[in-house]
């Protein structure tokens, strides 16, 4: 093997008491696509931030191109030839594409504009340099990020979960770009937890678990099953089968909803229609930023419809378009939002007080005062039933890991025994064990007759959970597709807007 381009030895990094990386060794060969594989919380993102100089390791050495290296800042990393594309993009919405690039790359605006166009042509990364970032789709933003990196002529390009924001078709296009880059002399560090992708594109893989390296392998020599075992330390949990069920009563119905949000950066919705029945899980697929948050807020009651809009949203048979979140909850609605900190839970408050947030109607209030005994009992029950790992009910919500806090919130909401449960991104940032527990719970609840609506970016998750799937793209919703009769590629075509409604209405739509 040739001398490695980048070589890490004994890298460790702690945040307070959390040891994010411990004794990491890693070698990246020149002109290779190298995967960093690990589940949420394994320490992948931390490691990348250390390489890119966003953070500094506590101990350890880095050798870059045969020279010892200390990366004090991202600017220095870029000078040395290391570029990074972030998972949650580091773009500025109020600036134009070229202004965003100007922040990183020296040069005059006119020259940069020209170079953006050239690079776009050469690598299949077309984007309008003079456009503002806020109306761009997620895929376009990713292209801007990649162009921004390429303009610094990197020898190593780090991509943090690049495919999580792309529909299946665009993933192929991205891989094509990456191969072209590799053949042009750039090494790529590819961070992912998706095994098939890594097998498809990577030459080498380093597997992380709990902040440590658990293996260096050639991913093409192992099947997904083996890789998964290395990644999570045991076999993948089996998905739970859903019982076939005939649809019950309508619990949520949205009819021809149009919505123009107040926020100029938000996505307007047009002609949204969907129905969720008792004993059924409906999934909403699509890449975030296509109207998911707007639709979620309208369903949850965090946003209400303007006065003139009537008969658009029905819950348990009532028109709820103008009701606030509390009023909708009284009808038997519960909601697990996509962001846990500061929305689903108050990080600075104890779990007991966080139970109160939505579970207060369960007799946790007496004469206007908080009934601490009952609230604590409720919290303890939730911790026990949903296997929330915490020192106790008085622990602050913010001190829990993402997965445990999510289990707590899912627990709190389902303990309200709602008629309609709405879960947005059920397993975002959640480790595999917790994610599988949450999915099993949702299927159990469905089998018991609850109506469940799920919004998710993860197609695999939706295929595992849902009876039918609708795709949200540019603020419009596709007709419902029966999961068992649909392939992921078809969903993917809706995700990029390749389908028109008329083409499909005859075949796939539900009767």
């Amino acid at each position: 093997m040739t001398a490695p381009l980048l070589s890490l030895r004994g890298i460790s990094k702690s945040y307070g008491q959390i040891r994010a990386n411990q004794g990491i060794d890693l070698d990246v060969a020149p002109q290779s696509i190298h995967a960093i594989l690990g589940e949420n919380g394994a320490g992948k993102s931390t490691l990348m931030k250390l390489i890119y100089g966003v953070e500094q390791p506590d101990v350890g050495t880095v050798v870059w191109d045969g020279e010892p290296l200390s990366v004090a800042s991202p600017a220095e990393a870029r000078r040395k030839g290391i570029g990074m594309v972030f998972q949650h993009f580091s773009l500025f919405e109020t600036l134009t594409v070229v202004e965003n690039i100007q922040l990183v790359v020296p040069g005059r605006k006119a020259d940069l504009t020209q170079r953006i166009r050239t690079l776009g042509r050469d690598f299949g990364l077309e984007v309008d340099p003079l456009a503002h970032v806020h109306p761009l789709s997620v895929g376009e933003r990713q292209r801007v990020e990649i162009i921004r990196c390429l303009m610094t002529n990197p020898k190593l390009l780090i991509l943090d979960e690049p495919t999580s924001v792309l529909p299946p078709q665009s993933v192929d296009k991205l891989f094509d770009t990456l191969r072209r880059l590799r053949d042009g002399g750039v090494s790529i560090l590819f961070i992912s937890h998706k095994l098939e992708e890594i097998r498809a594109i990577c030459d080498r893989a380093t597997i992380l678990r709990g902040g440590r390296v658990t293996g260096h392998v050639d991913p093409r020599e192992y099947d997904a099953h083996d890789l998964a075992r290395m990644m999570i330390g045991r076999d993948m949990p089996e998905p739970m089968p859903a019982l076939p069920q005939s649809g019950g009563e309508k619990r949520l119905e949205i009819i021809g909803l149009d919505y123009q949000p107040d926020d100029p950066f938000a996505v307007p919705l047009s002609d949204i229609s969907l129905t969720v029945r008792a004993g059924e899980i409906l999934g909403i697929a699509g890449i975030s930023g296509n109207g998911q948050s707007e639709l979620a807020a309208l369903i949850s009651g965090e946003a209400v419809l303007p006065r003139e809009q009537r008969d658009r949203i029905y819950m348990m048979g009532k028109d709820v378009g103008r009701l606030d979140a509390a009023a909708r909850r009284l009808l038997g609605f519960a909601f697990v939002p996509e962001d846990r900190h500061g929305r689903g839970a108050v990080p600075e408050m104890s779990l007991v007080l966080n139970s109160l947030l939505t579970a207060h109607p369960l007799n946790l209030i007496r004469h206007g005062l908080v009934n601490k005994t009952k609230a604590t009992a409720f919290t303890n029950a939730c911790i026990l039933q949903y296997d929330v790992r915490t020192p106790g009910p008085e622990a602050e919500a913010g001190a829990l890991s993402g997965g445990n806090l999510q289990k707590f919130i899912v627990g709190r909401e389902t303990m309200l025994s709602p008629k309609l449960l709405f879960v947005a991104q059920p397993t975002w940032g959640v480790d595999i064990g917790a994610a599988s527990a949450i999915r099993r719970r949702l299927i159990t609840l469905r089998n018991e007759g609850m109506a469940i609506l799920v919004i998710s970016e993860e197609l695999e998750e939706l295929f595992e959970l849902c009876d039918s799937i609708q795709v949200l793209h540019h603020g419009t919703l596709s007709p419902p597709l029966v999961t068992q009769a649909t392939r992921p590629e078809e969903i993917g075509r809706y995700m990029i807007g390749a389908h028109t409604a008329s083409q499909t209405a005859d075949r796939k739509a539900l009767p």
């Binding site: 307070g16 008491q17 500094q56 390791p57 506590d58 101990v59 350890g60 050495t61 880095v62 050798v63 010892p68 290296l69 200390s70 004090a72 800042s73 220095e76 949850s300 009651g301 965090e302 606030d324 979140a325 509390a326 009023a327 909708r328 909850r329 909601f335 939002p337 962001d339 500061g342 929305r343 689903g344 839970a345 108050v346 990080p347 600075e348 408050m349 007080l353 109160l356 947030l357 939505t358 207060h360 209030i365 206007g368 005062l369 908080v370 622990a395 602050e396 001190a399």
Partner: protein, 366 residues
């Protein structure tokens, strides 16, 4: 640039959980630090720091007469601060308590000014009620501007305070001026029944002190035990969680501002119907602003605020003493107040964070 800061400055590291010790230590440490800094300043000004310290910090406790004045000063500070703290915890920054205090004083004065001959024990309670109403009305303008017009409540409430001060001037120089007052900007002296009864004979301490303490206990129950108080705190800590749970934001803003306005208005009424006995230009010596400091220094906690109100009252009386005995300008009190709040804000950072002096150990070995 970041390399520079990482290598030469200590960094704040977030604690796993809030430190109780730091919470309790922050106010006394801040008080000590502010005292040291300010005494240093007095030395620079050529004053004798021992004399100033004696006059400011000890003298208020040395005689019953001056301590009773401290008790008298506690009233408005404590009352306003309790009201403001409720709003601050809901992240509703009403900094216009000064104006609400003035309107409370004006509303309360309406009875003795318009009906100077009226008698009866009903007068002073009605004046206190009217004052409460006046403060609430003034605060409701801010609430309306914030909730309906989306305007920043800090700026609106502050501007309304400046307007209130001008309104007071107008009344005292015009329609409400005491015709026999030698053209001084003040109203007539109030009749006996328009005064809050004295609580401790021989002093000016009156019944409103009891009221204030009772309301502090009520504030404690409200913020620490009641569901409404809980909702306000959720709104302050995580507004999106409040909206997720369906706690109405507009309602919380109205409630916070009305509570603050009522408290400040009541304090204003108690001041004119208590120690002053007439409406004057200088009814408030910055109570509305000092109460902001009292509220923060008390950790926005009803019990803490009782202690910090005592400290601030001592500072007021001590400042007066020092003005006389050590020839210290009264502005020194404002300097002390400002530096005290700054010191507290630094000290309270250690509740959530600890300092780490360790510089980045990351150096590659050759």
């Amino acid at each position: 640039m970041s390399a520079f800061s990482a290598a030469f400055l200590p960094t704040l590291v977030r604690r796993e959980r809030a430190s109780l010790a730091a919470t309790l230590l922050a106010p006394p440490v801040a008080l000590a630090a502010a005292t040291v800094v300010n005494l240093e300043l007095y030395v620079l000004m050529g004053r004798d720091p021992v004399a100033v310290a004696y006059a400011m910090l000890l003298e208020p406790f040395l005689s019953w007469a001056s301590f009773s004045e401290v008790l008298l000063k506690i009233g408005p500070l404590l009352l306003i601060a309790q009201g403001l703290a409720i709003g601050f915890r809901a992240k509703v920054f009403n900094i216009g308590a000064e104006g609400q205090f003035i309107l409370g004083a004006i509303f309360a004065s309406a009875i003795p000014v318009w009906f100077p001959q009226a008698t009866g024990q009903w007068i002073w309670p009605v004046m206190l009620l009217l004052g409460t109403l006046g403060g609430a009305l003034w605060a409701s303008l801010t609430a309306f501007w914030r909730v309906r017009l989306n305007a920043n409540e800090i700026l609106v409430s502050l501007m309304l305070s400046l307007v209130a001060a001008q309104f007071l001037n107008y009344l005292l120089l015009g329609p409400w001026k005491d015709p026999n007052g030698f053209n001084f900007p003040q109203s007539v002296m109030f009749q006996y029944d328009a005064m809050v009864p004295i609580l401790i004979s021989g002093t000016r301490v009156n019944v409103s002190l009891l009221l204030t303490i009772a309301l502090s206990i009520a504030a404690w129950i409200f913020m620490q035990k009641s569901f409404i108080g809980y909702k306000l705190q959720v709104g302050g800590l995580a507004p999106r969680a409040a909206s997720y749970a369906g706690f109405n934001e507009g309602w919380a803003i109205w409630l916070s501002l009305l509570i603050g306005g009522c408290a400040a208005g009541l304090a204003g009424a108690a001041e004119v119907a208590g120690p002053l006995g007439q409406l004057q230009r200088s009814i408030s010596t910055g109570y509305g602003y000092a109460a902001i400091i009292v509220a923060y220094l008390g950790g926005l906690h009803p019990i803490g605020i009782i202690v910090s109100a005592l400290c601030m009252a001592v500072l007021y009386i001590g400042g007066d003493n020092a003005m006389v005995s050590a020839n210290l300008p009264i502005a020194a009190v404002r300097v002390f107040q400002g530096s005290l709040l700054l010191a507290y804000l630094v000290a309270v950072a250690f509740v959530r964070y600890r300092l780490e002096w360790r510089r980045a150990a990351y150096r590659s070995q050759p």
